[in-house]
């Protein structure tokens, strides 16, 4: 049975990665799971300089999901390359850095640094809904995505995956922007912009008022968008949004994803990614499928 997939030039032993912002840089999960078993680790969103993040409360639970407005708190790329990357590299898993910035110049500077590092790829974050400048501001239009992606592409030789926001009318447009700019793949979906109100205080629960919705609640939206993008684009799709088990992984792959990320599920069960890999293997066995690649995009529409 073959579970190896090739995502945008990144050969992974299985299609399961862990999503940016839900796994730190891996250390916390090393206490619970064997990181060697993961297809890949996508790091916490990392910027050129450290970012303090937003005021608390930053998270709140919603029905079958949660809202977050972390605001890309991270120690910056220098800290990452000195402290976390050497540690991460001891594991036999792919390391993909989620890169975020407030301006095109910042994305480009960061990409130049990332190009020199021993990493397997870059996930360009054009989709965080929780920061004032950059990120999602670029990610909602064809032109915006194309402009940032093409400038990053010029300085980055490593596999480049553009992470897209679902907060758009037509997800295929920004996805095409990434493809036309030379991206090797796209990942979707980032969180859906939402709001939760404390009815006693008559105020939003989050200090930032709005935040990104994630968890099983968003899965059908994510599956739909992955399907639409995979159908329209030639480059591969990394699918995510509410995955908590192997069946969910299969569902995303049938919709067209070449690989997937598990995000919020990591908060509930630290072992969720490993269990999902096992679940995928069981599915393949049960259906006598020799090669996992043969199910990608194989949903039969009604």
């Amino acid at each position: 049975m073959n579970t190896e997939v090739n995502l945008a030039g990144i050969k992974m032993k299985n299609p399961v990665t862990v999503a940016s912002g839900t796994f730190g840089y891996g250390r916390e999960f090393d206490e619970f799971i064997d990181l060697n078993k993961l297809g890949g680790i996508i790091t916490k969103g990392t910027s050129l300089k450290p970012r303090p993040g937003n005021k608390p409360p930053r998270v709140c639970e919603t029905t079958a999901g949660m809202l977050n407005s972390i605001g890309l708190q991270n120690p910056g790329v220098e800290y990452f390359m000195e402290k976390d990357l050497p540690w991460l590299r001891q594991f036999d898993t792919k390391v993909i850095v989620n890169a975020c910035g407030s301006s095109i110049e910042e994305y480009v500077e960061l990409a130049k640094v990332l190009n020199t590092l021993d990493i397997d790829g870059v996930e360009l974050n054009l989709s965080c809904p929780n920061v004032k400048a950059g990120c999602m501001a670029f990610g909602t239009s064809y032109e915006g995505v194309k402009e940032v992606t093409s400038k990053v592409r010029k300085v980055l030789d490593k596999p480049l995956i553009v992470k897209l926001t679902p907060n758009v009318t037509d997800i295929v447009e920004p996805a095409r922007g990434a493809e036309d700019a030379g991206a090797d793949g796209v990942s979707l979906i980032n969180t859906l912009l939402g709001m939760s109100i404390d009815i006693e205080k008559r105020r939003p629960v989050l200090a930032n008022n709005m935040g990104g919705l994630s968890g099983p609640a968003v899965k059908p939206v994510a599956v739909r968008m992955v399907y639409q993008v995979a159908k329209a684009l030639k480059i591969p799709v990394l699918g995510l949004g509410g995955i908590v088990n192997g069946n969910d992984v299969i569902e995303f792959m049938l919709a067209g994803a070449t690989a997937v990320s598990i995000g919020t599920g990591n908060f509930i069960e630290p072992e969720v990614s490993i269990k999902a890999i096992e679940g995928v293997e069981e599915y393949l066995k049960r259906h006598n499928i020799e090669d996992i690649n043969s199910i990608i995009g194989q949903v039969q529409m009604n």
């Binding site: 916390e28 303090p52 409360p57 930053r58 977050n68 908060f267 509930i268 630290p270």
Partner: protein, 258 residues
């Protein structure tokens, strides 16, 4: 090091209509847990409610780990229905910021309302080598909890109610302040509502007494990856956030801005 395990519920006690004490079996957690740490409890195997519930450790006895929780929403509503003999999904013990009472001869512990729970294990452990004064404040007589338990692990116990309906009338901090005039206090440890923590923090600073406070904030993961439970660090002009679940929940009162 935290573990993830299903732990058998062996004792369940209703302390008040909305407050429950659970005793679960876990040799591993009991062996490694430190005073001030907490557990992340999954109340259901379903995806709703989704997140784990952070609940502080109340007491460790042999291979038993005890926690007390107030029923506040859908998660704790489900949790309170769990029966003896069932297994509870626990991640813990969590938090690297724990109570440090070693080498302190005279300590003062101050708690308010449901914030008193994480202070019991601290008092019990500290009592072995230190003189322990405990000050617990509640809104009124009906809300007073665990008086006998705290009496056993203290040299002096002061219970206050805001309205004077039971024992001393007033705020617990005022009685701590009074005693501090006449006795030497080498360390203050606090957990409770924010106004209390602020008062304790500023008193400790004024008197230059080492002080630790246990904080809470809305949490996502409980293990330091989602960065949800942010608390501001006292870093001058620079804005720096640390996180309750990993750096805390117990902090040096001088380090955090609350």
């Amino acid at each position: 090091m935290p573990i993830h395990a299903k732990c058998k519920l062996v004792k369940k006690e209703k302390l008040r209509e909305d407050i429950f004490k659970f005793s679960v079996e876990s040799t591993e957690i009991a062996k490694t847990a430190k005073a001030g740490q907490f557990l992340e409890i999954r109340v259901t195997d379903e995806i709703e409610p989704l997140l784990r519930r952070p609940i502080s450790i109340y007491n460790i006895e042999g291979n038993l780990v005890e926690f007390i929780f107030q029923v506040k929403g859908k998660g704790t509503e489900i949790l309170k229905e769990r029966e003896i003999g069932e297994y509870i999904d626990i991640l813990g013990p969590l938090g690297r910021g724990t109570f440090d009472y070693k080498n302190k001869k005279n300590i003062a512990i101050i708690g308010g309302g449901i914030g008193v729970f994480p202070l019991y294990e601290l008092a019990k452990e500290a009592k072995e080598n230190s003189k322990v004064n405990i000050y617990l404040g509640f809104r009124n007589k009906e809300l007073v909890l665990l008086e006998d338990e705290f009496r056993k692990v203290s040299d002096k116990l002061v219970i206050t109610t805001d309205d004077g309906s039971y024992k001393e009338k007033g705020f617990a901090i005022d009685f701590l302040k009074q005693d501090a005039e006449n006795e030497k206090i080498d360390g203050i440890y606090a957990c409770g509502p924010l106004p209390m923590l602020k008062a304790v923090q500023s008193f400790a600073k004024e008197k230059n007494i080492p002080c630790q406070i246990s904080l809470e904030e809305r949490m996502g993961c409980g293990i330091g990856v989602c960065l949800g439970c942010a608390v501001k660090v006292n870093a001058g002009e620079e804005l720096v956030y640390t996180h309750v679940c990993k750096a805390g929940p117990v902090f040096d009162a001088n380090v955090v801005e609350i």
